[in-house]
């Protein structure tokens, strides 16, 4: 039963990723929609990461002792200054680990 569920779930994830790449789909994308879609990466990625930072157990947490918020601030500054993904990961994750050790 679980195996069947897994196969059905695999069909759903593949369908969601592949559907609009299919050539037979009667759909033409105009210049305006293409321009609109050019904002999809920053929009979706941000809509994923911001709630991780601010929400814990369904509650909004913007306190200065929220390790997520402090470490994310470090990440944003490092990324803005250096544009280097490794440096950003290194500084903010070490900040996060230290904060969790000392704040809890």
């Amino acid at each position: 039963m679980i195996l069947l569920t897994i196969v059905l779930l695999a069909c759903i994830t593949f369908f969601s990723r592949y559907l609009f790449l299919h050539p037979k789909l009667p759909l033409r994308i105009g210049a305006k929609v293409t321009h609109l879609l050019s904002f999809s990466a920053p929009a979706v990625l941000t809509a994923i990461w911001v709630p991780i930072i601010f929400i814990k157990d369904n509650n909004f947490n913007s306190s200065l002792t929220n390790p997520y918020l402090l470490a994310a601030t470090v990440a944003i500054i490092t990324s803005y200054k250096s544009q280097n993904i490794y440096l950003t990961l290194a500084t903010s994750i070490s900040t996060f680990i230290l904060l969790r050790l000392f704040l809890t």
Binding site: Y18, S38, I48, W49, P67, Q83, I85, S92
Partner: protein, 243 residues
């Protein structure tokens, strides 16, 4: 020295792997969590391995493991997975014009590998144009797939020896990767507006416990970014006319 075709492909495979490497490493804790959680919630080893092999989607795997172990009805499980996956429709739409006329091996391959991470790497306008860049994308997506599988297997192997990892803050690694991907792309006002609105709305919808919030907040944010860009060009045209 001119490169022959095979050497050029090898270089692109290498480049794709290296570009994806930080993202592949950032999902290590999450992959281990998915694998070990499956074992701790009573899945067999085969079932636990088939999830990253076939489903290959962290958010869906994590939610579904909990739902299945709670004996949730199948229809609810499938519907929840569909809602979580619905952001991928946007990715397919954004890449449609570049991929729809290619042979199935490229379409199907990139379609299967089209995670948030691969889309982030292939989002710019020059990506996926020409065979070399397709090889690059397949290598980036493929290496991410293999790493995801490996991290899951580590979690499955460690399984019950690991403590419950769900409250250790492992999701921070995901958040910070996306920060590192998004922040350098904020080079103009329309993208800044998009990011601010997406962040604001996604938090509101999440607190309201609205499952579709991720997609709706993204759509509204995209529209605001688009309108800002539109306004800007109209203002420039007006200014040029009055000069």
């Amino acid at each position: 020295m001119a490169l022959n075709q095979k050497q050029a492909y090898l270089i692109m495979i290498q480049k794709g792997f290296i570009a994806m490497l930080p993202l592949s490493l950032a999902v290590l804790p999450w992959g281990v969590l998915c694998g070990s959680l499956a074992i701790q919630r009573g899945f067999s080893v085969l079932e636990a391995i088939l999830m990253p092999v076939l489903i290959f989607a962290g958010a869906v795997q994590l939610v579904v493991i909990e739902l299945i172990s709670d004996n949730t009805p199948l229809a609810t499980i499938l519907f929840t997975a569909f809602i979580i996956s619905s952001r991928h429709f946007l990715y397919g739409l954004a890449l449609r014009d570049k991929l729809k006329n290619l042979p199935f091996k490229w379409r199907g391959g990139i379609g299967f590998l089209l995670t948030d991470e691969l889309f982030a790497l292939c989002g710019e306008s020059n990506a996926l144009k020409g065979k070399l860049k397709l090889v690059y994308a397949i290598s980036a997506g493929g290496s991410f797939y293999l790493c995801w599988l490996l991290w899951n297997i580590i979690g499955i192997t460690a399984g019950s020896y690991l403590p419950d990892l769900t409250n250790l803050g492992l999701d921070f690694a995901i958040a910070v990767t996306f920060i590192a991907l998004v922040v350098p792309t904020i080079t103009n006002l329309p993208v800044l507006i998009t990011v601010l609105i997406a962040g604001f709305l996604s938090v509101i919808f999440k607190i309201a416990n609205w499952e579709l919030g991720l997609v709706i907040s993204s759509l509204i944010a995209m529209f605001c970014g688009y309108l800002t860009a539109h306004k800007q060009t109209r203002l420039t045209i007006k200014r040029n006319k009055s000069l």
